[in-house]
């Protein structure tokens, strides 16, 4: 990351002049074509989200009718009122929040300790262990899905949150470790030494010196973790197995699976909207961390 920021700052004036060149070559007609392309494209990309909100506010009758209308005649806010009074919805939502919170706290602590050790403490075999840890990145999650299930079954963890929450505290996160380590390597060495001379132990250096300075990188991994965990379908699907433990993705799938004809799409969409909104809000406020993270590691969540 150190080299990257350095390169970025030196290339800035050059890229500005490059932009001017492009601007120079861009005539008004071309500009109109570019905008037309980009705007129609983005309309296509936003349409499903708008459709979701629109449908969630329609009446049963409007949804059942073969329709072309994006928005309802009069918004039916009571669709949401009904949803908020549903016990299963409330439980799924709180389960999701509970799991995400645990995973977030556990993983950030565990992963940042490892990144700290890899970047700011010297010990024999460090780089070998680091390389080994990075090699787990090649493993697709499907490879361990079945044996993991068998193992968790043996220790009685099926129908508990443990298989989803505990690995966060104790295991893995190679991509996140990589991202944090890169950032921590870029912080000046003298900081640790000064703190150590003042009598701080490495754990204190981690908590009082390095973690506060690593806030942008910690923010990046937190957003990744939040989005990835909140949206995860597979793990809750195979491990939770009973409605009282369902998270939002499983709950929304259950709502879609109702064998009612016609399906009350407005209810399914209202549930989807409440499910998607926290992520969109978090994303809108933390965009730059998210994008930074993707462009440095090529991963998400």
């Amino acid at each position: 990351m150190a080299t990257q920021t350095a390169r970025h700052s030196t290339s800035l004036p050059i890229s500005v002049s490059a932009r001017r060149l492009v601007r120079h070559g861009l005539q008004r007609l071309n500009l109109i074509v570019v905008y037309a392309l980009l705007l129609s494209g983005s309309a296509f990309f936003l349409f499903p989200l708008v459709w979701m909100v629109g449908t969630s506010l329609k009446t049963v009758e409007e949804v059942g009718r073969s329709q072309l209308h994006l928005l309802p005649e009069t918004p039916q806010w009571e669709n949401y009122d009904k949803l908020f009074h549903e016990e299963a919805f409330f439980r799924a939502y709180t389960n999701s929040i509970f799991i995400v919170t645990l995973v977030l706290i556990g993983t950030v602590i565990s992963v940042s300790l490892v990144a700290f050790s890899f970047s700011r403490l010297e010990w024999k075999g460090r780089d070998v262990v680091f390389a080994l840890m990075m090699s787990t990145l090649m493993l697709p999650y499907q490879a361990t899905l079945v044996p993991q299930y068998v193992m968790f079954h043996k220790i009685g963890w099926i129908r508990t949150f443990n298989p989803i929450t505990l690995p966060g505290f104790f295991a893995g996160g190679a991509a996140l470790i990589f991202l944090l380590r890169q950032f921590m390597l870029s912080l000046p060495r003298e900081l640790d030494e000064a703190a150590m001379i003042d009598g701080a132990n490495p754990l204190q250096v981690w908590w009082y010196v390095i973690m506060p300075l690593s806030r942008p990188a910690v923010a990046t991994i937190s957003v990744f973790l939040f989005v990835g965990q909140w949206n995860n379908l597979m793990m809750p699907l195979i491990y939770l197995q009973k409605p009282a433990l369902y998270t939002m993705p499983v709950y929304v799938a259950q709502k879609l699976n109702l064998q009612e004809v016609p399906l009350p799409w407005q209810d399914v969409m209202a549930a989807s909207v409440t499910f998607v909104i926290p992520v969109l809000i978090v994303f809108l406020f933390t965009q730059r961390y998210f994008i930074k993270g993707i462009s440095t590691t090529g991963i998400k969540g």
Binding site: P48, L68, K124, M138, V150, W206, P249, M269, V276, L280
Partner: protein, 319 residues
Amino acid sequence: MNPESRLPALAARALSWLGPTPLSRRKALWGLALIAPNTLGLFFFFGIPVLMAFSTSVQEWNAIKPPHFVGLDNFERLISDDKFAQALTNTLKLIGLTVPLEVLLALGVAVLLNLPLRGRNLLRTAYFLPVVTSTVAASVVWTSILQPRYGIVSRLLEPVGLGETKWLVEPGLVLIPIAAVAIWQRLGFDMIIFLAGLQSIPGVLYEAAVIDGAGRWERFRHVTLPMLSPTTFLVMVLAIINAFQIFDQVYIMTLRTVPGGVGGSATTLTYYLYRRAFTHSEFGYASAIALVLFALILAVTAFQLTVQRYWVYYESEEG
């Protein structure tokens, strides 16, 4: 010599292995202590399962009988299993449907959004929002808009005679909407990587090209594309790996009709693995499928790495 008297000597050797001075030894111990919880967890939650994946794949293991060793039977069964062949074909078709289109569109959008336009950041956000949207919610919406006769897509396609098309039921069509959702959700992600790549191309190259009289198309063809090829390579590898793992879309979009598509027409490798393991409790067979999936992903990555030297340009190579 009895073992007790050797202990201090051993301890001393272990200590000196850690480092030459007391301070460096203290640091080394801290270093090991801080990674210990995560590393032990990694061994427990992933290391053991990885080893088990191999041992499970050579056993017959289901809910009825206790597991027992069957040698390579599971892999033999894979070869003659039509459903597996279908899942593999579907996965490859999905890669074909998504990767080229997705990479091309993402490149186009990234190039346009790299221009100094007003409202550029807002547009970038619009293209990126689907990436953070849950695949479950996205698939739900697409299931709704694709309903025959009622869905808005069907209404819009009515004039061309596609109003009654059952997109999620027809075996020949079902992969198209699944690919569409995958592209819709992935394009913004690829775009970000392309934008980072575009911004790292030194401006002097464009200036030199202009001096040489290159037009906009020539600058794109002879400067942008070659300079961007490492990025394109990365995006393609990631896109293929991602397409290999498609699951959520299949699960949601075929939930209301026939799970996995009519006659397995929407079943991907990951979905097939999921069904074998968690619907039919065939853990041994599912482990064999997982290993094949892993080997395929590795093979694709290795293949890409070997062919990249024919089309990927790295700056350090220039002579």
